[in-house]
Symmetry: C2
Subunit: 218 residues, 2 copies
Amino acid sequence: MSDTKKIAVILSGCGVFDGAEIHESVFTMLAIAKHGAEYTIFAPDIQQHHVVNHITGDEMNETRNVMIEAARIARGAIQPLDSYKAEDFDAILMPGGFGAAKNLSTFAFEGAESSVEEETMRVIKETHAAKKPIGALCIAPAVVAKALGKIEVTIGEDKGTADAIEKMGAIHKPTNHGEVVIDTVNKIATTPCYMLDANIIQIAEGAENVVKATLEMI
Amino acid sequence: MSDTKKIAVILSGCGVFDGAEIHESVFTMLAIAKHGAEYTIFAPDIQQHHVVNHITGDEMNETRNVMIEAARIARGAIQPLDSYKAEDFDAILMPGGFGAAKNLSTFAFEGAESSVEEETMRVIKETHAAKKPIGALCIAPAVVAKALGKIEVTIGEDKGTADAIEKMGAIHKPTNHGEVVIDTVNKIATTPCYMLDANIIQIAEGAENVVKATLEMI
């Protein structure tokens, strides 16, 4: 048996406005590798909620698949989320981007009343039941909160989002750049990243800090 | 006048097989910011050569625009390459990915006989004529070599690519992970990144080193 920690990274597409936030995803992968752990990248094999032109913000008349687009960040090395088994991994990490709130859940549209995508829900619940840690960045903590209920998380300081999270039964703690909220009972580590008006250095630090906190709970 | 160095980053799409390599692009941006410089991201407003499914490697029956896709990496903050003026910047940085060899040039298909996309050619030549440095990662040095001819570059150790670069009149120096070839006469800094079989830590180091070398020539 190898002692190398095995981490599943769950992506939600490729691009902040309709998929996984790219900087958060890449810095999460880098931080895992720097800490001597290994990552395997997963995404659900489903259609994206929509496709957004990242210059204009307009919806494009196209359909794209979450896993196929996320494979751009993964350089092709990606697995369908339905193949994830908690027994094969030591922790999961969920970068943010609107994909978490549009593809992995309906949080962007329905807030506290949102639902979590089927496989994402299974993966979060299975990992939590196996007492393995979950790290989440940016808006992804809202998905974990919807799935697990009474956990302690942060998405930074946005009041509307924090209120929705509390309405779902979770506890929200405000944070600033690079800070991590650690729920030691439930083994959940979260950090705001681009939920704050952040620069790229602050994103790298936030990813580093939440990955470190997650790995320490293994 | 601000003393902050202004760097133009030129992207070629979003995804290693048909656009800009995402990790190289993000680590280039991070390294520029870490060194206290500012970046502005550019891409040509042209159609991609093609769209590749990054899981299977198959061509997809779609068309995508290089600048619109590159905006995913830029989080929307992107300028059309035809608006670039060398007088507004202190240096340019070109991450790799097949986009450099398929969208910014035809190097992937025609090697030494390739041509460089019109605006990319203008930008490289104008920057070089203004005696401002150019940094390039992965396969992007082949585009710079095609545009400028007799310069010294590296793309790592791939013999076929190196031979094509020499056939275009440039000099190729083999390198390993993280190493940078600096042509001080022409102010060109290049590093192999994913032209070698590299891990993500080595890519971050390569980007850091080539950005540092480029900034030092300003």
